[in-house]
């Protein structure tokens, strides 16, 4: 079934690239409009570039530009929600949900992609995922988009079973890698983590492909 419009809801610049860039690229190839609602500017990130070029004060503006670049690479519309990194779980859940509901009702997507609450490792992932699902739950059941929830804990298959949607994105991996590398302040630090000794291997892309070549989601049951 062809989607009408896909809305991706994640809290950080780079979540879209690491988590769903291949899936997004596939939708764009089919001509499906994709909107990214990005919760924060990742103001509290630890990665400052490698070698370091950002500091705590310059990071938000740098990450905003990186986010815009990644969205350009992925050819998606971007809407920044204006929350602050690491604080989403302390916000009023209903307030965030109603904020998201307003946006979702206006754009009437057929599919929403977000994080699976309590199975998404980062507190912001869990909180914004929960708010996004709450937003859809609050909608008229006839008008609800499908929700794909992404779990990224090490134990999510054990805990939740096999994901309903498993997208092999190796065919679009160049695009995914371009999107990831748009996040210059973050990418090398995170990619380096793949390698225990801290060196980026020559075949970094191959290693990344192994780790990030599949994007999987659970279809949320309301």
């Amino acid at each position: 079934m062809m989607e009408k419009h896909v809305v991706v809801i994640y809290p950080h610049p780079d979540d879209e690239s690491f988590g769903a860039a291949g899936t997004i690229a596939k939708f764009r190839e089919q001509g499906v409009p994709v909107t990214y609602l990005c919760g924060t500017l990742g103001e509290m990130g630890r990665n400052m570039g490698s070698p370091t070029f950002a500091n705590r004060e310059t990071l938000p503006e740098i990450r905003k530009k990186e986010l815009m670049q990644a969205c350009k690479v992925l050819d998606v519309d971007l809407q920044m929600l204006g929350y602050r990194d690491k604080t989403l779980e302390y916000e009023d859940r209903q307030e965030v949900a109603s904020h998201l509901k307003g946006i979702i009702e206006e754009s009437e997507p057929s599919l929403v992609i977000t994080h699976y609450p309590d199975h998404a490792v980062h507190p912001d992932h869990d909180a914004l995922g929960a708010a996004a699902i709450e937003a859809v739950r609050l909608m008229d059941p006839d008008k609800r988009p499908t929700v794909w929830a992404q779990a990224i804990t090490n134990t999510h298959v054990e805990d939740l079973g096999k994901p309903d949607v498993i997208n092999d994105v190796t065919a679009n991996f160049d695009k995914k890698m371009d999107a990831i590398l748009s996040h210059k302040s973050q990418a090398s630090g995170i990619l380096k983590n793949f390698n225990q000794d801290g060196n980026i291997p020559d075949d970094l892309k191959e290693e990344a492909k192994k780790r990030l070549g599949k994007e999987s989601f659970y279809i949320w049951k309301f």
Partner: protein
């Protein structure tokens, strides 16, 4: 940022003495610490734009890693593991400690005007 120059930072710290200033203090090992290593703990602290006044300020260290302490009327503020510094927007003192991969582990920042929030 650049490696801490103790005398310059000390001078800058002293310029804030007995003034009402805004402090940003944080430490973090990242939200993924225990995801990447199950034996690790996630630990972090963050306080931004706290208005304080201190009467003494000192940076201490061995040339590589530094500690900075501020003495207030009824308490103390300190940060350990600082490696780099910068004067931001001509007047804000930024100090931070980075690990060997350049990731921020600790930050102490002082300004006479609030940090953006």
């Amino acid at each position: 940022m650049k490696p801490i120059e103790k005398e310059k930072v000390q001078k800058m710290l002293e310029s804030f003495i007995n003034k009402e200033v805004y402090v940003h203090l944080e430490t973090t090992n990242g939200a993924y610490a225990s995801h990447v290593n199950e034996k690790a703990y996630n630990v972090g602290v963050y306080i931004r734009n706290t208005k304080v006044r201190f009467s003494q300020a000192k940076i201490v260290g061995d040339g590589k890693s530094y500690r900075a302490g501020l003495k207030m009327d009824i308490g103390w503020i300190y940060a350990e593991g600082l490696t780099d510094w910068e004067i931001y927007e001509e007047s804000k003192l930024l100090m931070a400690g980075h690990d060997r991969e350049g990731r921020l582990m600790v930050a102490l920042q002082i300004s006479e005007t609030p940090f953006s929030h």
